[in-house]
Point group: D3
Chain length 133, copies 6
Amino acid sequence: MTDGPSLLLVEDEALLLLSMSEVLADGGFALLEATSGHAAIEHLDGGGEIHGLVTDIRAGAGPNGWEIARHARKLFPTIAVVYVTGDSFAEWSAEGVPDSVILQKPFADAQLVTAISTLLNCQPPAPPTPSPG
Amino acid sequence: MTDGPSLLLVEDEALLLLSMSEVLADGGFALLEATSGHAAIEHLDGGGEIHGLVTDIRAGAGPNGWEIARHARKLFPTIAVVYVTGDSFAEWSAEGVPDSVILQKPFADAQLVTAISTLLNCQPPAPPTPSPG
Amino acid sequence: MTDGPSLLLVEDEALLLLSMSEVLADGGFALLEATSGHAAIEHLDGGGEIHGLVTDIRAGAGPNGWEIARHARKLFPTIAVVYVTGDSFAEWSAEGVPDSVILQKPFADAQLVTAISTLLNCQPPAPPTPSPG
Amino acid sequence: MTDGPSLLLVEDEALLLLSMSEVLADGGFALLEATSGHAAIEHLDGGGEIHGLVTDIRAGAGPNGWEIARHARKLFPTIAVVYVTGDSFAEWSAEGVPDSVILQKPFADAQLVTAISTLLNCQPPAPPTPSPG
Amino acid sequence: MTDGPSLLLVEDEALLLLSMSEVLADGGFALLEATSGHAAIEHLDGGGEIHGLVTDIRAGAGPNGWEIARHARKLFPTIAVVYVTGDSFAEWSAEGVPDSVILQKPFADAQLVTAISTLLNCQPPAPPTPSPG
Amino acid sequence: MTDGPSLLLVEDEALLLLSMSEVLADGGFALLEATSGHAAIEHLDGGGEIHGLVTDIRAGAGPNGWEIARHARKLFPTIAVVYVTGDSFAEWSAEGVPDSVILQKPFADAQLVTAISTLLNCQPPAPPTPSPG
């Protein structure tokens, strides 16, 4: 199906961004990409609806992944959130948002696709979130 | 693995039926297809065991998706149920069956595959349902 | 805490109604009681917000428990639903609403209190449902 | 409600057995008690249906709690299982049965009641298990 | 069972503190109480192990409930967290910690006991968290 | 992403081993393969960390799948476990380990990938398990 849910992918390592982007596009998601926390915030504030966020904890210049996710949830209260990380795994229980998943690098492609799909599939049957734009 | 679980796919839009059918066949499922509610009921009543149901809510002539799923559960009490819908999302909490998933169009291919797989994987270790045929 | 969430309790056997009512009141819930399906519908249509429904499947004159729950979910999409039954347990997978619990008689008091509490605690952080009245 | 589900409680420390027995009886459960693994097996093999098992891991003479639970599940495939333990907590992931809960001593009364109630409430809507007797 | 898991209860309204304290003590928990965010932090930093946190979002002088919970999780990564709130419910999806529950006032006593018990019962079978003291 | 989590795949039927191996490698997992229970134990005891186990119940010479999984969990307490089986499905509730999944043959490729991915994604944010080697 074309035009699947839109995901914002935040990753400052170019190769990893490319790899994750291909995997998620193959799964049928529409992707927005950001290589820094600053760019991530701009996408979120841009006015279009975003259904999921996949973010590294270390996200280059600007806010880190924990901060990006909190900002995203203030705008889109039910947005699906997947964190990926090399060394911040232990901070998730204090810094993560509710109903999020964290993947420790290296993870398999299938884990990423399953994580975001499962979260999107479990969204509550609430009235659609009004667009913030 | 060949000859995976059999799914009944009910969708009256030909292009969407084709798209979902390909995605599910790629995932290894054996597919039965119906382009109307009437045809769906015939498949269910046909006597062969069916492990999962993927149904649009608007299902052309005959019963709608809510009715098809209830009929399916009467014949196969543990059949996995995934609804897909454009505009009936809000009715799920009143009209859906327990332990079902509803996907709002447009959804990603990976969401469909994850939804049906997750439901099938969670089936209880009960004795196999006797075939109704 | 006084003035807990309001539950509608539907049961046509007077002794069982009394027993469940006491158990739920001890747990801190505010109770509305109905001894028939007709009375249950009247309560639901009465305009006040109701947070949970505990209903027998055989509910005396009027709609049965399956029908009462569907009506309740149309008015209050996130209302918690617990069914109790002696002999209709097997119909739940076809007739129940999503995210409901069914208790087979005889059940323990603690099961009833845990069932309704767990469902209420898992309600999604959606904006409060507007009152239908 | 009288005559709630029957639980088998296995504990070789008399004071703890008494304490747990009172808490579970207050919750409305019908109790069978065993102060050794041998006695637990006798109860299970006795022919009556048992819906839940609460067992210490160190269970006096005879099989330990891990073995008692496996035996119980062979007779009653969907029996609810709660382990309580002082020092065997770390073995649960290897020795426990699926869909069981383990409580580390000291635990609160409410944890015990919630654990067994939650497991009983989640039993699948399968056809009733035939009595082994 | 005496000496159950220790809970820190943070609430600046004296009557509500008393009410919740009684309910949780009846459930078998050992309680520490704080009537301000400052006092809550002192308890957490005091060196003793704390297994659960029940906190109002508005917590009087000092950090609010969101901040108290993050601090608690930094010290005790698997501590159970229940928030109670009158008007901050909508912020939970952005400000809450993972695997927490939020109860909207007015809630029933049974909801509070079930919430904290369920979270404690689901703690992973990891090695005990080393005390920070 | 290269170098995903390492899975041990235990299957004595060569064609099925090949089929599952391809599916899991496509999903991005690093695979170790064993065609007997004896070989499985050698891999587990070999000293390298293994994050997931996919095992047939009938596993050729040596321990069966139930025994392999218990051995694996003793070495790696949080290892993900997926059983596949033709005729031992009914034994899972007594012989399986907690938080495992069992797939009845014939299953779809997508079910296998979803099962192991979901289990790995749900691993608790505990400190990394020390390698047993």
